[in-house]
Subunit: 201 residues, 2 copies
C-alpha cells in the first residue's frame, strides 16, 4: 500500500484527510508528523496560504521521501482587507492563542457595521512527490458575530456564521462542519489529483 504523509502534528487533521481520501476511493497508509518526530517544523515564511502549503509539503517530502500533503488556512476578514489571513494563528502576537486572536478581531471590528462584517475561511492544500506537485483551494464564506457562540471547533469558529446558516461553525458537529468546510473542500479537490503523484515511478 502506498504511503502518504500529512505535514501536520494535529491528529484530527490526519483523521479528516484519511476519511476524505477513502471517500474518494484512495486507500493509502496515511502517516502524520508524529510518525517522524525527527523532522523539524517548517517556518511559514510564505506570503500566501498556497506558498506556505507548498513550503511545508516540499520540506516534508525532502525529509521523508514520501508523497507529502500540507495545508495552510485562515480567516480573511473584509473589514481588515483580508487579514488575519496567513497570520490567523498568531494575530494577537503569540502562536496558537485562539482566545486572544478571536478577542482581538472582535475588538478591531467593534465599530464595524453588519454590512461590512463579511469574512471567509480559506484553505490551500498542496501535495509534493518525486517529480511533481499538485494543489487545490477551498473556502467558505460567512459573517462575523459580535460575541462568541458554541464550543466545538477551534480558532475563530465561535464567531463565524457561514452564509445560509444561523449557527456558528463552533455550534456544528464535526461531520456537519467537515461537509461544508474550507479544509474539506480543499482536501477533496486535492484527493482527486493525488493519484498522479502516488502512481509516479
Amino acid at each position: 500500500m502506498n504511503q502518504l504523509v500529512l505535514a501536520s502534528r494535529n491528529p484530527g487533521k490526519v483523521v479528516e484527510l484519511r476519511r476524505i481520501l477513502e471517500a474518494s476511493g484512495i486507500y493509502v497508509d496515511l502517516l502524520g508528523m508524529e510518525d517522524f518526530p525527527e523532522v523539524p517544523d517548517v517556518r511559514e515564511t510564505g506570503a500566501t496560504f498556497m506558498e506556505n502549503a507548498l513550503l511545508k509539503a516540499r520540506a516534508v517530502y525532502e525529509a521523508t521521501g514520501l508523497v507529502s500533503v500540507a495545508d495552510d488556512s485562515g480567516l480573511t476578514v473584509e473589514a481588515l482587507n483580508g487579514m488575519p489571513g496567513i497570520l490567523s494563528a498568531r494575530w494577537a502576537g503569540r502562536h496558537g492563542d485562539d482566545k486572544a486572536n478571536l478577542d482581538l478581531v472582535l475588538a478591531q471590528l467593534a465599530d464595524v457595521a453588519e454590512a461590512r462584517r463579511g469574512a471567509a475561511f480559506v484553505c490551500a492544500a498542496a501535495a509534493v512527490g518525486r517529480s511533481d506537485h499538485v494543489f487545490a483551494e477551498g473556502s467558505i464564506e460567512g459573517r462575523l458575530l459580535r460575541e462568541p457562540r458554541g464550543s466545538n471547533g477551534f480558532g475563530y469558529d465561535p464567531i463565524f456564521v457561514p452564509t445560509g446558516y444561523d449557527r456558528t461553525t463552533a455550534e456544528m458537529s464535526a461531520d456537519e462542519k467537515d461537509a461544508i468546510s474550507h479544509r474539506g473542500e480543499a482536501f477533496r479537490a486535492l484527493a482527486s489529483q493525488l493519484i498522479t503523484l502516488l502512481d509516479a515511478p
Copy 2:
C-alpha cells in the same frame, strides 16, 4: 478675521495647521475642539481615511456653523494588506494605546523579511463649509524596523524609517518631521483650496 475650526482635541495639530496656513498666506482665527466642549466626539465609522475625515468635518460644521477641517490618518503596512489603516489608533483593541499597537505590529511582522516590511503613513484631510467641501491626501513611504528607536512623535513613529532616511520619524525633530510628513502634505494641499470655502458668502 475668518474663523476656522479644526476637528481635533490635539493642541499640537492646531499649532501645526496654523503654521501651515500662515505659510500658505492664509490668516484665520483657528479654533480647536477645546473651544467647543459641548460638541461630542464623532464616531469614525467610515471605511476609508477620507470618509472619516469628511464625517468629522461635516459633523463639526453642522455643530458650529464655522468652516471645519478634519483629518484621519494611519499606518498602512504592506505585509498586513494595508492595515492597520483606519484602525491604526486601536489596532490592539483599545483606542490610543500606542505601545500596545506598536508591539502588536512588531509581533505580527516577526517572520516578515526585510523585502516585505514596506509601509506608509497616510493622511486624508477635508474641510466642510456652507455650500461645499474640499479634500486632500498626503503620504510618506518607508519601512518598518524590528525594534523601536527614538522618543519623539507618537504612534508608530519609533519603528518607521522614511524612504531615503536612516532615522525613524521618532528620531527627527518636529520641524523635520512636519516638512516631510503625510499630515503636513495633506494640510498644505488642503490650505491651497480652503480659500474657496472661506470666501463663500
